[in-house]
C-alpha cells in the first residue's frame, strides 16, 4: 500500500504544475482550428505519447500517470482537448487498429499533427454507449453509415471521428470517419464548460472496408470509457482543488461587517465541508485510476462509483464556491465561475451521477 508518486511521477507533476501556472485560460474560439501552441508544448513534453503503450508508439504511462496529467489540467482549467481529442479516440484506436490504420492515424495523433474525436453518444441513448441506433451496413465496396451522434466533444477540431455503430451482424463497430466525408454534417457550438462540440449527422456516409477498427468493439469501448471516466474524475479533483484554494483565499481577503469573511463560523464549516468533499473525491479518483487494469467488472464497478461520487462532490464544491464568493462568484470575470461551470458540467460527460449509481446498484454485492 503506497500512495506516493514515483520519482518520474513527481517530475511529471512538477512540470505540469509549472506549465499550467504559466498558462492563460484557453479561449473557446481558439479551440476550433489548428492545434494551439500549447498542444505543441504537450507534444514536446511527451504528454501526447504518455498514455499509450510503447508498442503503440507511446511511453507506457498507466492510470496514475493519466491522473497526474488530468489533475493538473483541471487545476489550471486548461481546456485543450487532451481527453476528448487524444485520450479517448487515441486509446480506442490503439486498442483496435491494425498496423496500417495505426500508421495513418495514431502516429500523427501522438506527434500532435492532428486530433481526433470519439462520437459515441446519441440522443435517445442518453449516456448508454450500447443502446445506439446508428448503423453500419456492409456493402460490396465498404460500409455505409447512417445515424446521428450528439455532443461530440472536440469534433470541430478533429481530422477524423471515431464513430460507434451497430453493424448488421449485431456486433458493435467503431469506424474511422474523416471529417470531410461526404454525408457527414456537423453542427458546431461551444459548451457551457468552455469546450467545443458538435452534433453530427451521418447521412449514408460511404467508407472503405478498412474504415472499421477491429471486430466487435464493445469491450474495447468499455475499457476506453472507463479510462475516460477515471481521467475526468482526476480532472475534477484538480479543478476542485483550485476552487477550494480560490474560495479560501477569497474568504481570508474579503471583509464584511468589519471582519474577514473567514472569521464567520458558518463559512468556516462550509469551507471544511468543501475540503472534505475534495479529499473524498481525491480518494475515489485514485481508486478509479488504480483500478483500470483490474478485471472489467471490478474496474467498471469502481469507476462508476468514483464517477458518481465525484459528480456529487464536484457539484457541491462548485455551488458552494459560487455561494461563498457572493455576487462576485456570479460573474464571468471572476475565475471561480469558470471552475464552477466546469465542475457542474463534469456530470454531463461520460455519464452522470444517476447513470453511474444505476450501474453500481446493478452490481451491488448483497454481502
Amino acid at each position: 500500500m503506497n500512495f506516493a508518486y514515483s520519482d518520474e511521477q513527481r517530475m511529471l507533476a512538477d512540470t505540469l504544475e509549472r506549465l499550467v501556472a504559466d498558462q492563460a485560460p484557453t479561449e473557446t474560439d481558439a479551440l476550433h482550428g489548428e492545434p494551439s501552441p500549447l498542444w505543441g508544448t504537450f507534444a514536446e513534453l511527451g504528454l501526447l505519447q504518455l498514455p499509450f503503450t510503447e508498442e503503440a508508439g507511446g511511453l507506457g504511462g498507466d492510470g496514475i500517470d493519466v491522473m497526474i496529467v488530468m489533475q493538473a489540467l483541471g487545476r489550471g482549467l486548461v481546456r485543450e482537448p487532451y481527453l476528448a481529442g487524444l485520450l479517448l479516440p487515441g486509446t480506442l484506436l490503439a486498442r483496435l487498429a491494425d498496423a496500417p490504420q495505426r500508421e495513418r492515424w495514431l502516429a500523427p495523433l501522438l506527434e500532435g499533427e492532428l486530433r481526433l474525436a470519439l462520437a459515441w453518444q446519441e440522443t435517445a441513448a442518453r449516456y448508454d454507449a450500447h443502446a445506439i441506433a446508428t448503423c453500419a451496413r456492409r456493402q460490396a465496396d465498404g460500409w455505409i453509415i447512417e445515424g446521428a451522434k450528439q455532443v461530440v466533444i472536440a469534433a470541430p477540431s478533429a481530422t477524423a471521428l471515431l464513430v460507434s455503430a451497430r453493424v448488421d451482424d449485431g456486433t458493435l463497430g467503431v469506424f474511422l470517419v474523416p471529417a470531410d466525408s461526404p454525408g457527414l454534417e456537423r453542427r458546431d457550438y461551444p459548451t457551457l464548460d468552455d469546450q467545443i462540440a458538435s452534433d453530427v449527422q451521418l447521412k449514408g456516409v460511404a467508407l472503405p472496408h478498412d474504415a472499421r477498427l477491429g471486430e466487435d468493439a464493445a469491450e474495447a469501448l468499455a475499457e476506453v470509457l472507463a479510462l475516460g471516466r477515471a481521467a475526468l474524475c482526476a480532472e475534477a479533483v484538480g479543478a476542485m482543488e483550485a476552487a477550494c484554494d480560490q474560495t479560501l483565499a477569497y474568504l481570508k481577503e474579503r471583509r464584511q461587517f468589519g471582519t474577514p469573511l473567514a472569521s464567520f463560523q458558518v463559512l468556516q464549516h462550509r469551507m471544511v465541508d468543501m475540503h472534505l468533499n475534495l479529499e473524498q473525491a481525491r480518494s475515489m479518483a485514485i481508486l478509479a485510476a488504480a483500478s483500470l487494469e483490474r478485471p472489467s467488472d471490478e474496474r467498471d464497478y469502481r469507476v462508476a462509483a468514483a464517477k458518481a461520487y465525484c459528480g456529487e462532490a464536484a457539484r457541491f464544491v462548485a455551488e458552494q464556491a459560487i455561494q461563498l464568493h457572493g455576487a462576485m462568484g456570479m460573474t464571468e470575470e471572476c475565475r471561480i465561475s469558470h471552475y464552477a461551470r466546469h465542475l457542474v458540467m463534469f456530470d454531463h460527460h461520460l455519464g452522470d451521477v444517476d447513470h453511474h449509481l444505476e450501474f453500481v446498484s446493478e452490481g451491488l454485492s448483497a454481502a
Partner: protein, 397 residues
C-alpha cells in the same frame, strides 16, 4: 380554518387569466417561455399593457393610480403571471422607488415622478450595492459633496440590474463622511444622462448581461433630487428593504419551474421510457413537489397574516431560504434531465436574435438557467444573512 380562496379571489384569478390571454403579446410570452432575454422594448410593451389595464402599480394604493390590491390579490396576480410566461415587472421604478417617493418625497417630487413611473416614461435602476460591500450595505463609500444647490457625486455602484436601459437611478450616497456608518447617508435621484456617469456591463456566469457597474465621476445632482432630509437615506433604504416581501418565496416561479421540469422529464427518454418514470429521478421530483406543497401553505399562512394586518417579518426570510433552495433544486433537476444535451450553449440565441430549430430552442436555456438560478441564494441578502436575521429577530439568539 380554511385553505381555499374565496369566490371573489377565484373570480379575480379568472380575470387575471383572461387578461393575460390577450394583454400579453405572444412573442414576449414565447421569449419568456424559452428563457430568452427580453429587449427594453419587450419590457415596455408588456408594462404598457399593464398600465393601460391599471395593473402596473401592483403594490400601490388606489389614490396613486394603483389597483389597491391586498397581499392575496398580489399573490394571485404573480402566480398567474408566472404561469402565463409574463415578464416580471421591472421592480426598480414601480415596486421600489415609487413607494419611497410616496412615503418620503415632497409633493413636487410625487407629482413629477409617480405618474411617469406609472406610464413607463422613466426606467429606473438601483444604485445601492458597491464593489466589495456585499451584504454590508451600510459600508458604502460613494460620496456626495454639497456645492450650492447641487451635490457632486463620486463613486461606484455595482450589480445594477438592467441599468443599461435606465434613464434614472435612485442612489444611496454618503453626504456626511464624519457620521457613523448608517448615519450620514442620503437618498438621491440621479438622471443617467448627467455628465460623469458611465455604465459598464457585468457578464454573469450564464453569459447574460443583466447587471452593470455604474461609475460616477463628479456627477452634479440637484439638491432638489434628494428624497427626505440629508442623512435620512438609511431610513428610506430600510423602508424599501422591508417593504413588500411577500413575493419573496417566488412561489409562482417555483410552480412554473416544476411544471416545466415535468414536461421536460416526460419528453426525455431513459431506456426507452420517459425519464419521469425512472425511480430515482421521479423521487426527486416527488420531493420537490412535496416541498412546494409545504411552501405554498406556509406562504398562504404569511399572506393571510399580512391581509389581516400582521407584518411579515422574519417569516419572509424563511420563505426566501426555502423558496430559493427549491427553485435551485428544480433548475438542477431540469439541467440534469437533459443529459448530454445540457452541454450546448447558444448565447446568440438566448441573448440575441439567433433562431434555433424548434426542439433545440426548447432546451437551449435550461443549462444556463441552472447557473443563473445560483443568484437566488445570494441576492437580496444571501441565505446565510437571512438565517442570521431569523436567528436574531425570531429566535432571539
Amino acid at each position: 380554518m380554511n385553505l381555499e380562496f374565496t369566490a371573489e379571489e377565484q373570480a379575480f384569478r379568472r380575470e387575471v387569466r383572461d387578461f393575460l390571454a390577450t394583454g400579453l403579446p405572444d412573442d414576449i410570452r414565447e421569449r419568456v417561455r424559452l428563457g430568452r432575454r427580453l429587449s427594453a422594448d419587450d419590457h415596455l410593451r408588456w408594462q404598457d399593457s399593464l398600465s393601460v389595464r391599471g395593473w402596473l402599480g401592483v403594490n400601490w394604493p388606489q389614490e396613486h393610480g394603483g389597483p389597491g390590491w391586498g397581499p392575496v390579490e398580489r399573490h394571485i396576480f404573480e402566480e398567474e403571471c408566472a404561469a402565463a410566461h409574463a415578464p416580471t415587472i421591472v421592480p426598480f421604478g414601480v415596486s421600489m422607488v415609487a413607494p419611497v417617493i410616496m412615503k418620503f418625497g415632497s409633493e413636487t417630487q410625487k407629482r413629477h415622478y409617480v405618474p411617469r413611473i406609472l406610464s413607463n416614461q422613466d426606467w429606473w435602476c438601483q444604485g445601492y450595492s458597491e464593489p466589495g460591500a456585499g451584504s454590508d450595505l451600510a459600508s458604502l463609500r460613494t460620496r456626495a459633496v454639497r456645492d450650492g444647490d447641487e451635490y457632486v457625486v463620486t463613486g461606484q455602484k455595482s450589480w445594477t440590474t438592467l441599468g443599461q436601459h435606465a434613464n434614472m437611478m435612485f442612489c444611496l450616497v454618503r453626504t456626511d463622511p464624519e457620521a457613523k456608518k448608517q448615519a450620514g447617508i442620503s437618498f438621491l435621484l440621479i438622471d443617467m444622462e448627467t455628465p460623469g456617469i458611465s455604465v459598464r456591463p457585468i457578464i454573469t456566469l450564464d453569459g447574460a448581461h443583466e447587471v452593470n457597474e455604474v461609475f460616477l465621476d463628479e456627477v452634479r445632482v440637484p439638491v432638489a433630487n434628494r428624497i427626505g432630509e440629508e442623512g435620512q437615506g438609511w431610513t428610506c433604504a430600510k423602508f424599501l428593504l422591508t417593504h413588500e416581501r411577500t413575493g419573496i418565496a417566488g412561489l409562482g416561479h417555483a410552480k412554473q419551474a416544476l411544471r416545466h421540469l415535468k414536461s421536460v422529464a416526460l419528453e426525455i427518454q431513459h431506456r426507452g421510457r420517459p425519464l419521469l418514470e425512472q425511480p430515482h429521478f421521479r423521487q426527486r421530483v416527488v420531493k420537490a413537489e412535496i416541498e412546494l406543497m409545504a411552501l405554498e401553505v406556509t406562504h398562504l399562512r404569511v399572506l393571510a397574516a399580512a391581509r389581516d394586518g400582521g407584518a411579515p417579518g422574519a417569516e419572509s426570510s424563511l420563505l426566501k431560504v426555502r423558496g430559493s433552495e427549491l427553485r435551485q433544486e428544480l433548475s438542477e433537476l431540469t439541467r440534469r434531465a437533459l443529459g448530454p444535451q445540457a452541454l450546448p450553449f447558444f448565447p446568440d440565441h438566448l441573448y440575441g436574435d439567433q433562431e434555433l430549430e424548434r426542439e433545440e430552442a426548447e432546451h437551449a436555456a435550461l443549462g444556463a438557467q441552472y447557473f443563473n438560478r445560483r443568484k437566488l441564494s445570494i441576492y437580496g441578502g444571501s441565505n446565510e444573512i437571512q438565517k442570521s436575521i431569523v436567528a436574531k429577530t425570531l429566535l432571539g439568539m
